[in-house]
Symmetry: C3
Subunit: 633 residues, 3 copies
């Protein structure tokens, strides 16, 4: 069963509006309402003085209208009095400045006092509402990592980091050895000497940085886990966190293990403007529609993070306030985005937010309603989706996508992101971009993809792509039956970010060493003989494996045999098409050259088509209007 919901803030509105709002939500076909996640100052206006009444009433009012409630723990917004208790709870930025009260996410994950407060409020909420029949799910905190809040250079973080290091390396000599601290006399005599890797004279040891990144991610995991454990004591309802787009500073797979459902906040137009490298022409073309693959990438990623159960917790309903430019969606796009989520297996899509707030930071962020309570464009489209969902589900059940694995796997690894952030070697090297371009290339061939962690069981996949992996140590090669492609820059390092010896990638069946890597400006692209080019990153191989693709100058780019291949450079869009066409043929995968801006997704017998263009497109006998969605058996 797929359904819709909305985010709502009863504490922000006069109580007289609640009932009417609840009824309008239900009428619109919404089933879920998320509340509470920023309400701490109203739940506990002064330390220890709890005000449950309003929340009791709100839950009753919404629940009575037939809505299922997702109740959020409010730990992303500690009240002002918390700082009187813990003046040192604030995170510290890389420059050493305290990140002050006055917005949100003003806490350091390593601060024990604040952890205790978070557990306390979760416990109080769990006790009060854990068995409330209207509470159908819980959200813990909100958008971990938003506003660059994973890395903190506070005293609390430093002390916790030292303990973490001691647990990982046991002896300081082991750490010195693993990090290569002999280089530049960086040896430590004891763990208590190790500072956080900011404000050093020149770049700190990459091993030091990677340890700090692993530690910082682990802090998020344990912070989240602590609330999860408490809520489970009081409630059977599923636990959710709402992740964000292209936040890579913590390991989402690891956080996801402690939760029941993954959800994410999908703002296609804001992301296009703010979080995507793309040519100006591309950004102009999709200005009011968002990138055709960015949402799908996250849908496919969070499906895995949620072990098959995933939602969109916040769906953009109109212009937002936080991107450099904030245009309105092309009419029809709110519907399209919703359907793209369902096509990828989403259980629920919630819109953010019900009524636009006329005050504070997000006053220019639209809602389904205007600030004056009139319906905005988003509401009309949400109603349409609700109706269409209803019609479709009458005809056919849409099982969760996890029941049906796709045939293509793309490995995505947070640690690799951190490693290449720390040591890009070339100014443009970015792991997410590399992976996303591979994903986009697959989508341009009409394929449906699973995004999986490096240690996934790969036995069901006909084609496996593993670009840019720090190490291949965790890859379950023994499960692989399909065609696999590694590289560029896969398996060349150790987990402590040293160069692997013997030189990588050290694939069992492929004699191949990367003996030198070059980073190149875009002016030095290397053309491929099959069309397209290598751009930005080029490796030199020592191999006796057959060369399948080379540059026009004869530099080997794709080598391998028997279904195992290595890619020695970063292909451009055309290069990816040439490479993937060859691989798909080998893997026995049928491909479809999708028209520009049109995408498809297969889901249990249904084929969905999406037109991200602002003009109609005819394809495969179907004419898709601008922002059009089409599904067929």
């Amino acid at each position: 069963m797929r359904d819709l919901g909305v985010c709502y803030y009863p504490e922000q509105w006069d109580k007289v509006l609640w009932k009417q709002d609840a009824e309008r939500m239900a009428e619109a076909g919404l089933s879920w309402v998320r509340i509470g996640e920023f309400s701490w100052s109203r739940l506990e206006p002064e330390a220890g003085n709890l005000h449950w009444d309003w929340l009791d009433d709100a839950i009753e009012c919404l629940g009575s209208a037939g809505l299922k409630i997702i109740l959020g723990t409010p730990t992303a917004t500690p009240p002002r009095w918390m700082l009187d208790k813990y003046p040192d709870m604030l995170a510290v930025d890389e420059q050493g400045n305290k990140r002050k009260f006055g917005s949100r996410r003003h806490y350091c994950f390593s601060h024990e006092g604040y952890r205790d407060e978070s557990k306390r409020i979760a416990d109080l909420m769990g006790r009060r509402y854990g068995t409330n029949p209207h509470i159908a799910a819980w959200q813990i905190d909100n958008e971990y990592g938003c506003h660059d809040t994973i890395l903190s250079y506070s005293d609390a973080a430093r002390k916790a980091f030292q303990i973490w290091l001691k647990q990982r390396y046991i002896h300081i000599e082991a750490l010195n050895e693993a990090w290569g601290n002999v280089f530049w006399s960086m040896d430590y005599e004891e763990f208590g000497q190790i500072d956080l890797p900011n404000l050093t004279v020149t770049e700190p040891n990459p091993a030091h940085c990677l340890a700090f990144r692993r530690f910082s991610s682990d802090q998020v995991v344990s912070y989240n886990q602590a609330q999860a454990q408490i809520l489970r004591r009081h409630s059977q309802a599923p636990l959710i966190h709402n992740y964000m787009g292209r936040i890579t500073e913590f390991d989402h797979y690891a956080v996801g293990k402690d939760l029941d459902i993954a959800s994410w906040d999908s703002y296609p137009i804001g992301f296009l403007s703010d979080r995507l490298e793309a040519e100006p022409e591309h950004k102009k073309r999709f200005l009011r529609q968002g990138d055709p693959d960015f949402q799908a990438f996250h849908h496919d990623l969070y499906r895995t993070v949620g072990k098959g159960r995933w939602w969109v917790m916040e769906q953009q309903p109109g212009p937002v306030n936080w991107a450099p430019y904030n245009p309105a969606p092309l009419p029809g796009m709110v519907r399209l985005w919703s359907w793209e989520a369902f096509a990828h297996g989403a259980q629920t899509v919630c819109y953010f937010r019900w009524r636009q707030a006329p005050f504070a930071q997000e006053q220019m962020h639209s809602g389904l309603l205007r600030p004056d309570g009139e319906a905005a464009q988003g509401l009309y489209e949400a109603c349409q989706v609700a109706k269409e969902l209803d019609d479709l589900q009458k005809k056919q059940s849409l099982a969760p996508i996890q029941a049906q694995k796709n045939k293509v796997a793309l490995l995505f690894d947070y640690v690799s992101q951190w490693a290449w952030d720390i040591q890009p070697q070339g100014a443009d090297f970015d792991y997410f971009r590399l992976t996303f371009e591979a994903y986009k290339a697959l989508r341009q061939l009409g394929l449906s993809i699973d995004i999986v962690p490096p240690d996934a069981d790969l036995s069901d996949y006909a084609l496996i792509l593993a670009p840019g992996l720090l190490t291949l140590d965790d890859v379950k090669h023994e499960t692989i039956k399909g065609t696999s492609l590694y590289g560029p820059r896969s398996g060349l390092k150790t987990k402590d970010l040293s160069i692997a010896l013997p030189l990588g990638p050290n694939l069992a069946d492929l004699e191949c060493k990367v003996v030198m890597s070059e980073s190149l400006p875009s002016s030095a692209d290397q053309e491929l003989s099959v069309g397209g080019a290598i751009t930005g990153w080029l490796e030199h191989l020592e191999t006796d494996a057959p060369v399948h693709i080379a540059t026009k100058e004869g530099h080997p780019i794709m080598v391998g045999k028997e279904g195992q291949y290595y890619l020695a450079g970063w292909p451009d869009e055309q290069g990816w098409q040439a490479i993937l066409s060859e691989l798909c043929q080998q893997a026995g995968l049928a491909v479809t050259a999708m028209p520009q801006g049109v995408r498809q997704c297969q889901n249990q017998g249904l084929r969905f088509l999406f037109n991200y263009n602002d003009h109609p497109v005819s394809f495969d006998g179907i004419t898709l209007p601008a922002a059009g969605v089409h599904w067929q058996s």
Copy 2:
């Protein structure tokens, strides 16, 4: 009577030069000399030890040569010993760093100790020179706001801000309500918890920011007022401050209320290079002349700030030292700039400075004399202006411009600048630029303009433009008899920077709501059917008023009736011409399409023409040489 003057620093020169300098000034036709404003360390070399002798002598020497003296209080440059007394008097930047001694303006407006010192030195100077016959005017401090000195994040500022907030909101609940602090649990329990809005995790509450901006402006007003009140006790001479160009961090109208004359420091070439957004082609064209409208805008603005009495206190005489590039003015431009000021009603134009200092920060800033005392180009042109002024005033008196109001009013509001600085919503949105482009469009049509505050009496104006006003609450609609145009983005918010409800602009006679605003990159310009385009900002209206101008796609842009119009987007240059042509016709204003780089100004029967081009232009039967000025009855 219009006249000329110069800025002079007797303390910087050997006393033997004073007499000769004074005589040369008088010979050159200069009537005024400004002195003293940076001389504190020589007036009071150690705390409490006053050295008046040299200043007594300098005043006597200059006065004896027939020069009228403007005496400056030296509070922009506290001596080094002041810091021993008040180590916490320094302003603090947004990053939390103290802004140290070693240049100028090193004080926080909120520091009580420094305020007392400022009053003390003003009192001492007032007592000594208040009735000196040579002291014909006073300047208080120097260039408030220069070097980004209005906003300070010091402890003194924080404490003063809390007091200010308490005075404004009385109860903390009222503040929480007005700011919408329920959003993100930002509620306060008491005023003492409220910090300054810097270094927050993500953007602070815009209401918090706007309050801080209002407070910071008020601190300047009260700081200036304190000195003004003291000087008035001792002297009948008029009080002046010298404002700068495009400094918008404090409310100049409010400061101006406590003074008798407004003056400003006009550096056309430096401003073009450093303070003006413009196409490279425009900057190249006017490299040695300055923008044709930038000075005029400030002349028209400061005429209002000075309630009709205004000066140029510092006129650029040659290359300066502080812009990215510092070319020499085209020969004739120093004369042109001087005359443009007089055409706009200036009483006095003073050149900065007499002799170029060979030392310290401004050694590469030219003067009327070279560092070796020889005449520089500026002196020749100043002499010519003196002579021309004399000739003209023999024929005709030039009454102050305030006697004759112009027919066009442009509303300019400092609070709106702060509001949109805080919440631009689109990366390019800038209030000054919006207003300045409207002004430039009016000038291109040959119109003479008054720039007035939002609460001005508008009864004399045939055409009133009010773009970008935060609120319309203070606009005296009842005084309006002419044609008025509001928007874009006018009247959509409250004074606490929330969205106005009902949705704005809430014009009495115009049914029109802005229901959605879009910010757009320049690649998404919307062409108008009348020519030109909307660029960067586009509003969606709910209105039944007639649509006068729309985009080619039919999106309403200018709507209204009976002389009251709303503009739902930011027009480009051609768009403004189309809009204004239509409005002027309605308003019964004759317009003249001015040739590129040529401007005119009407003043009491005289029509002045200015050629900002570096080549001659023939216009209206007159041939203006490069940098040419022409006047006729």
Copy 3:
């Protein structure tokens, strides 16, 4: 005798590798090995506990293989325990942040405690190895100034600066007068009031800044001198420091006076990408070769710094890790770079480093060996150079270049760099770039050049260029017999960075004053009548000297007579060619128009030709392959 060497880190490798490494070095034809300069934490793992054994063994092992050893003092990398002893020894950046432990160069030159520690370790090493027969040279510290480490805003620096000022100015009144502190009331009452010139409200007094720059340079000189004096007590071996490319924050001539040999670290590809202003087309053309003049400039500079004895201590052998992009050298370039050094008189060229380290900051920096110990491209080319050197020296001795002075002198002055850094007046003005462009223009005419300090004996030179000198006070005009060209911006200021009076340049035989200077954007280039243009900087002269070159508009650019000329602007490439052609003719110097990317160097009867292009070039009857080197008698 010219020879080769390599940098080696025995402490980074298992002891079993040492012998084999030493033998391979010797086999490759390398004579020298540099060790020890980053090994402090292994020499003294805890304070006072010295571990000499491993170093004893390493020296014995390398020496036994016939290698001469350069032993480095490890003071660029103080161990972690040093900070427990001296928490305040860290440098402080301009923003006031401590520059923390975790990389290298984490010390403030002004910290007395750390100076003592540096002397202590130098003394200990000198005592132990001063007479060891394998120790054939010493390196003190490593790359002074790398990572922006000359300027420190620490308390230690402030206190030392005050003492330095007192020694220089004796009386505070003298300092106030020299700096022009009367301007903006910046007068001091005592030296203890003078802070470092960072974090001021607007720019600090340029005289204050220049004093701080002179002081900071002096601190490097005295720091280095202290170690030099100690090592001389224990050893007869020559003392060396390895300077970097385009580091100008300290006076290398002054440091060089205390040492026996100058050396520098030459990374042509990294420098092209990271430290050279050039058109994208130029950077693309020489992407894998480096700029054709950048290395030569430093060779000619450091030859003077070393009083004729100079080395390349670190020669790039393959891709590096630290530039924005890190391509591999074109095959042959390692050889070419080595020969260019010898052609300019280098005694020894050492490659950095022997084996690529698989760990820590520089793991992506290639060596002569790959991380797995196999030979990399660099090793093959080093072997070839060794063989060629051997062959050539069998035929002919290559005496040190200082025996034969070149005929062209270019004056290069560190103080001028500081002065124009402080007061560029135009956004693009950079002293190094000005000087380097003059040097490049001379090389394009096939000339061999000496780069000398302003106070050099100039009697041997037929042509002397002195662009951009702060003052001409130290120039030994009396020694000049050849043709000399001063300017632009030469001799216009005093040593305290005030404008010189009478106005400069104050050349004895040339009546010429610069009465105004203009800085211009590139859009305002002034074309010369002889071809080319003046770009960025234009001076106005008062002179009765003959005008040799003028702009098309008649503005005098090169004036002078009887072999003494002044240049009143910054020429572009074509402009320099026109100017130099005329001067060389006067000076009786034959010139050769070199093809693009081809350079020559004369050295004691040998003429070397270098082809920096990636394609063959025929020139003067010789066909040079890509990356080709040619020499002939």
